[in-house]
Subunit: 367 residues, 2 copies
């Protein structure tokens, strides 16, 4: 193997695949990047067996061949090189010589035969979605996945297509986040994508209207971004029937400015945090929300103007669940819908119906 | 106590004094800020008994008085308020009510009588130095202080005035950093300022030509920045006689581009770091420096063009000590002066003589 290419292009390819390389593993070849030079293209692959990323660049391939290089060392060395032509040459005994200007790096590689193969996926049945919409769908749902592994299926996000609507759903037992988008001529499907995979995908995709092409097999999902492919395991098991959880009616609807509510809950949660319970109380009535919190250190009272339809209500929440959603919603005003002080609050955007968030209240003895 | 002032002004005062407040202590009052309102000024003081900071702001004082508030809670709440007038009112039982727009925060304070007094310092004998020069002197020396406490005196920076020259000196047994500046009509002095104090000072001072006025007592130093005063303990004991350590002659002088050398050592140190020894070797001769490093993972060779006066030399160093100094020096070219491969290397700026850095080589068996 012997090829030359521009440092910047090489570095970008490494940055992309590096996200899938293991950092600490008992199987050291998984800390590596498989490099394969052929036909004036160089392919880079990394995998931790859960997720695999492959990308390619155009390069001047003088001699085809392949090798596995330690992702961290190789990546850091390339990153620190000046912006110029870099050459990679495979010598004897798996040694690779990397040169650029007056820098020369000799690094011991691994046998490419030992590198695990990514599953082959037939890209027949496809879903197409633009990169920026996929990014938004991930951002607006992924924060609500379960952080602990007691129910592994809840550490993923449901990818559901039904009647030409694609829904992303995440829930952790205390709150639920649902984002919808219309797709044309899409066949129905139900699959749960690991949260980690979606995190890595959202780092790779660009804020552009370029399409991502998505294919499923029974156990895997493939995201095809053109030069880059990401393959991930799907999570096993049945997702929660989330439709049953979303209330169809409410007794109180509140329209409120998102930023003012966010700032007020942040200040109130300062004490809630010190008290380690994150408990804040809403007292909603007379076209305002009074938000209070107290701990041994003091007490806060915040007042936010709101437009009310329905009965007044006193209800308590874990402030974290409200802060999480208020930080990622992008509309200026939101609706909060309540029924009783023990049933979930529904948060919606005022200007569209494609996003719903649900949060369970905290039961208080005095209520 | 009852006063009102602008949120931004209040926040800045808190930011300044907060640096001296203890975060975890068995003496909770040290986690607080003493607030004292009098004559349309409000004074803020915090101390961890090693360092004390006091500042004041102009405010509308309706009722004079004083209280101690928890620095973290008070600071965070003020930071999160909108930019508007804030009022602080001391109620019964040490409760303080803070209000701003529709936010109201009740916080339990502590008795101001229990707050330790900062030492009173008579500002007769003064050194004056501009804030930006003091900042540079700290930056160019403090990185060389000892990190461990086995010789406490080396965790500080020597402040020495001799023959109208102010020197800052730091050394940790492996390297030494010396920065000089001329002062007019300055009396001689020798004192060792704790590194922590200088770190906090350099966060408070501005990149401006405004003067800092510095006063010493046998045990304390006072930095007077106008509205803000910082008082710190000095370190006990005799500093190392650093003049004896600085070589007066050399056999090899190398002129080299700082950035190119920095980049090359960074790449070489990548492997040196993996090998956990940080060991890099210089082979200097024929108007170039060859920098090499190797570990079980591979080997790097870097070449940097240099102008030589004197004998060629092979010598080895801990790469960290070169990276530290190359990152903080601001000149385009530097001189390296060597004598033998077991005697210290002197690093100087080409364009001025006010800065000297010394680093001990690593003895190699093969040398």
């Amino acid at each position: 193997m012997f090829f030359t290419c521009e440092k910047n292009i090489l570095q970008e390819a490494i940055n992309i695949v590096q996200k899938a390389a293991s950092s600490k593993t008992t199987y050291p070849i998984l800390e590596g990047i498989l490099i394969k030079a052929i036909d004036n293209k160089v392919y880079f692959t990394a995998t931790d067996l859960d997720i695999g990323i492959e990308t390619f660049i155009d390069a001047n391939v003088i001699k085809p061949g392949s090798i596995v290089l330690n992702s961290k060392l190789f990546g850091e060395f390339i990153r620190m090189l000046p912006n110029d032509i870099v050459s990679l040459e495979l010598l004897d005994n798996n040694f690779v010589k990397i040169t650029c200007q007056k820098s020369e790096f000799m690094i011991l590689g691994n046998n490419p035969e030992e590198f695990p193969k990514l599953p082959a996926i037939n890209e027949n049945s496809l879903y197409e979605i633009s990169q920026d919409i996929l990014r938004l769908m991930i951002k607006q749902t992924i924060f609500a996945i379960a952080q602990d592994e007691t129910r592994p299926i809840l550490t993923g996000v449901l990818f559901e297509v039904k009647d030409n609507v694609l829904s992303f759903v995440a829930l952790d037992g205390y709150r639920l986040s649902l984002k919808k988008v219309e797709l044309e001529n899409a066949s129905n499907i139900n699959a749960v994508i690991p949260g980690k995979t979606l995190n890595e995908i959202s780092k790779i995709i660009e804020p552009s209207e370029d399409k991502v092409r998505i294919t499923f097999t029974p156990n895997h999902i493939l995201f095809n971004l053109g030069n880059t492919k990401v393959i991930s395991r799907l999570l096993d098991g049945e997702f929660v029937n989330y439709r049953q959880i979303i209330p169809q009616e409410h007794k109180l609807k509140v329209k409120v400015n998102r930023n003012l509510l966010l700032d007020s809950i942040e200040r109130a949660s300062l004490l809630a945090r010190e008290g380690k319970t994150n408990l804040i109380k809403f007292n909603i009535g007379n076209d305002k929300m009074i938000i209070t919190s107290d701990s041994q250190y003091g007490k806060v009272q915040e007042e936010v103007t709101a437009m009310l339809e329905g009965d007044s209500l006193k209800i308590a929440f874990n402030s974290k669940y409200f802060l999480d959603v208020l930080r990622i919603i992008d509309s200026e005003e939101i609706y909060l819908e309540f029924t009783t002080n023990v049933s979930p609050c529904v948060v919606r955007k005022v200007d569209s119906d494609d996003y719903i968030y649900l949060v369970l209240p905290v039961r208080l003895i005095e209520n």
